[in-house]
Amino acid sequence: MDKSKKIASGLMVVLLLIIATLVFLWKQTGALQEEPFTSTSFAMGTYVQQTVYGENGEQAAQEGDRAVQELENKISWRVESADVARLNAAAGTDWIDIAPETASILQDALDVAERSNGAFDPTILPISSLWDFGGENQHFPGDAELQRFLPFVDYRNVRVDAEQSKASIKIRGAAVDLGAIGKGAACDQMVRAYQEASAKAGVAAVGGSIGLYGTKPGGGAWRLAIRDPDSGNDKAVEMGTLDLKEGFISTSGSYEKTFEEDGRTYHHLLDPKTGYPADNGLVSVTVVYQNGAMSDALSTAAFVLGLEQGRALLEEYGAGGVFIDRDHRVTVTENLKDAFQIVSDAYALAE
């Protein structure tokens, strides 16, 4: 009797030990074993990459793709039936009805335009279409052409009534191009789609903009890489990392879209005041904010404003920023000091 009791308790101990070990190991490795659903697609003239965690990751990613496509069909000036194309066509006439999403993005755009004193301007189309960056006709349009169309660039010509979902452009010849806010806005829509599809967590990346959704499985922060502006030619590398729990991240870099003509390199970040690419020593500005559209617009605004004024603008919004100048000096706003880390020897913090 005594003996079998001993055996039984011995067996119990062994069993408990096995269970405890399995639970411990499962806890330890569970996070690694959860495979996210990843997908890539093309929309808004760019590359869309999604990583979605949770049982319905695949469905959430499909919803994400659909969200980007739907948004493009509303805010593109190239799609004839889009709100923005119709708005441009109606310039100088009357108010037109637009989708609530378009109204909200236009409103965000005007907000950043106003507070950056026009350093970001959604009415850049008359100038940006002359340069045609990334298009088949990309070229330096010449100073005379730029001066001719510059007077049409003024965000104050756009009026938005978000409550009624209406907008208008006051003068004929003025036109809206949401290229500098659209990718961030797409991240907003994708994160919303993940939420509606009850995904567990996910990362949406549209061009250079990123949206974070939920808590990274396994705990800890999402780790994002800021691209080295000098990468390319055998160096597809990162210059720094950002560890973030949430938010939207956008980068405006002069390396992103360029062409050469007569020995000069032109980049796509145009200063709405001059019509020329902004030239103030910066090569890249990364912005972290709670809203994707705004993070995108703010990165352009801060790039065009330059380090000092750009930093002041971000502080006004409570946004985070990482500024890189052409001498590889890096300036980080106070609120990102703990999250940001330089990983390349070629870069150093300013000050």
Binding site: G134, G179, G208, L224, A225, S231, G232, D234, T251
Partner: protein
Amino acid sequence: MSGRRETVRTFQKQDLLLIVFAVLLAAAAFSWFQLQPSRGLVAVVEQEGNVLYRIDLDQQAQTEILDLGGPYHVTLAVEPGAVAFQHSGCPDQTCVRVGKLTRAGQAAVCLPARISVRLEAADGEQAFDAYTGAVQWGKGP
């Protein structure tokens, strides 16, 4: 224990020790296997979001040229531990300018050809969850 040989052996102290030892051994092996920093770099080549190839770059012994054809005659250089767009007939050449991809999470895209190459870690452990800033991205919305 009586020590009588004819007793049917059921369960003894040595057996318990043996089982504990076996469990510990299994646990150790399992942890070792899990924590092993398996490199396993996989290049995923996609067109229009559909996977064309999955190439284990750690198994790659030498440089190979992968001809993807199409209107832009895209070719990839697949090397041990790296992959790059070697050629594309597209006007912007941004995919070629990206250079060699060597770490999980990196990607290069030829927008006109709608071909993308991204690196995945075989064990799912990416160095980064995403890259901000993009070398390219044709026409905006």
